[in-house]
């Protein structure tokens, strides 16, 4: 029973409540600018929300515990770890790496590489698609956004900056 409780939405409720509590203390750091006689200051609205969030999290936990005791928690709500999580973690890592490297390597060079890896991760095995779409799309986006719309897509640094300068 305890295992089911821990695996269920109680964990989510606890995370929400803990985060709300932490942020509630964070509101004390807001500069106390007494523009309007101290009433409804910059911390009023966030605190109202955070208190509501803590109360709602408690309500969710209470409902969940009540349901678990009655044996009503569906299996799908439990937190499970499987091989699928590895794909998820790989996708998150790929996106985070891409975003982290974008200012360094630039959009033009990095995007096709990321797309090839992402397509492979999602299960694409056709070499024709994998090695055509990323380059065509990147080139198309660079031309439309930088030449027509003047959006300064990240150019990268050093050698990558020089490569980007060839196009935009």
């Amino acid at each position: 029973m305890l295992k089911a409780l821990l695996k269920s939405e109680v964990i989510i409720s606890a995370i929400c409540a803990a985060a709300a509590l932490y942020l509630f203390f964070e509101t004390q750091t807001f500069a106390n600018i007494d523009v309007y006689g101290g009433k409804l200051g910059s911390d009023f609205w966030p605190r109202l929300i955070l208190v509501s969030m803590m109360a709602l999290s408690a309500g969710l936990a209470y409902n969940t515990i009540k349901d678990v005791l009655k044996g009503k928690i569906p299996e799908a709500n439990n937190i499970k770890f499987s091989s699928a999580n590895i794909r998820f973690i790989a996708a998150v890592a790929l996106i985070a790496t891409y975003l982290g490297l974008l200012p360094v390597i630039g959009f033009l060079v990095l995007t096709p590489v990321m797309m090839i890896a992402f397509m492979y991760l999602l299960g694409e095995r056709s070499k024709a698609w994998i090695f055509s779409i990323p380059f065509v799309l990147t080139l198309g986006i660079v031309l439309v956004f930088t030449k027509l719309m003047y959006v300064p897509l990240p150019r990268g640094m050093g050698i990558f900056l020089k490569i980007s300068h060839l196009l935009y």
Binding site: E9, I12, C16, A20, L23, T27, F30, A31, N32, I33, V35, Y36, K39, L40, S42, D43, F44, W45, P46, I49, L50, S52, M53, L56, S57, G59, L60, A76, N77, A84, N85, R87, F88, A91, V92, I95, A96, L99, L102, P103, T111, M114, M115, F118, M119, L121, L122, G123, E124, I133, P134, L137, I141, V144, F145, M149, V151, P152, L153, P154
Partner: protein, 499 residues
Amino acid sequence: MEIWLASLLNVFSPVALMLIAGGALAGVMLGAIPGLNSPMGTALLIPFTFAMEPANGLMLLTAVYCGGTFGGSISAILFNVPGAPEASVTGFDGYPMAKSGKAGKALGIAIMCSCLGGLFSVIVMSLISPQLASVALSFSEPEYFALALAALTLIASLGGDKMIKAFIAGCIGLLAATIGIDPMTSAERFTFDGDALMGGINFIPALIGAFAVGEILMTAEAGLKKTGEAVTKVSTELPKIIELLKLKWTILRSAVIGTMIGILPGVGATTAAFVGYSEAVRWSKHPRKFGTGIAEGIAAPETCNNAAAGGAMVPLLTLGIPGSATTAVIIGGFMVHGMQPGPMLFINQPGLMYSLFIAMFVANIFMLFSGMIVAKLFSNFRKIRYSILGPCIFVFATVGAFGISNSMVDVWIMFAFGLIGYAMKKFDFPIAPLIIALVLGELAEISLRRGMRMADWDISDFIFRPIGGTILLLTLITLLFTIYGKVKRKSKFVDSKTA
């Protein structure tokens, strides 16, 4: 009457018609591509209007505006990535409908309702612009607060049986809206002593992240099982007369709401779409079906946002105050031709004003055809396997988020909300309340605090104002009614289980 006839002849000249048709098509295209939008397109076209007759140039800009307001819904429906902020709500029901194999129907409803909403607002604008402008000026902070609160109560209806989860999601959205510099005291809030979050959380990257990136991460986790989703040929199906008649009250209500909200300076088509959606839920006989892919869920925001586009022209033309970002750009279009929008324009240039009204009417009709052409073009992308489409959507999402302020912070916000969206889907939290609260949070907070200050901390000023008080009362009644309905359904369910 003579002025109207002269304006009619002016608009129906071959050059003007070509400009309107081209503008509507360009607007739809710009709106449909994430990262590009109608303010950007309108701004870029202003230099091209230098060499044109003032009327022709302004007709082109307004046609781009009309088309751009609709265009965003195409990518919202097909890929869950709204091309423009105004289309954010359309994806709530449009994407589930497209996923169930009815993408053509969803696009058809969106195109038709956008056209009808636009036509309604243009007719209203042509007939009673000055009167509407004076009503808009009577709106003050209590009315804005009541309006935001009314839309926020939609969260109770959107959660279905998971009302607490919906409210928690709403709280997260409201909280995210407080990040950055407090507009009233300039105090930093939740910036954690860094510069990155000082500008606050723009809701577009958040929206793209929660819906599109969240979906991509879910698919990555599901692997090939999900990529095997059957994709049928998509061809836009305009709704039949009988289907439109079923939606008549939703369309009419949304058109009125959209026009009214459009008139309010600084509120705009995005808020109009959210309020229109919330009212559609409130008045629907089956509110629990919203978010699952129903026609009303597409008709309401689409009618509203295009009606708001017309409405936003009212304060621009009558008072010289822009009602939205694009109308602010259109002011530039007037200025390059040596004109200042405002009451004097009706006296000095009545022909131009009526030409603009007629041009907007015609642009909305052209938008119907342009919408179908662009929708057909974009529909082809749905035939592509998700293993190819997913990374393409991600790249567009990244460029779309980056393009808002040319900043990597927005891209990281998109990613963070992607993770939040993934977690919320995983643990069965509705995402729509998060986005609604994020969009309306600032309006609700600031109008409450500013209104209280104006009323010298007397809450009765919010309650006893005719418009604001009525909206608040209706909001309270419907909220209590929603909660009562849910409690009653739950007790019925318990009774049937124990019997």
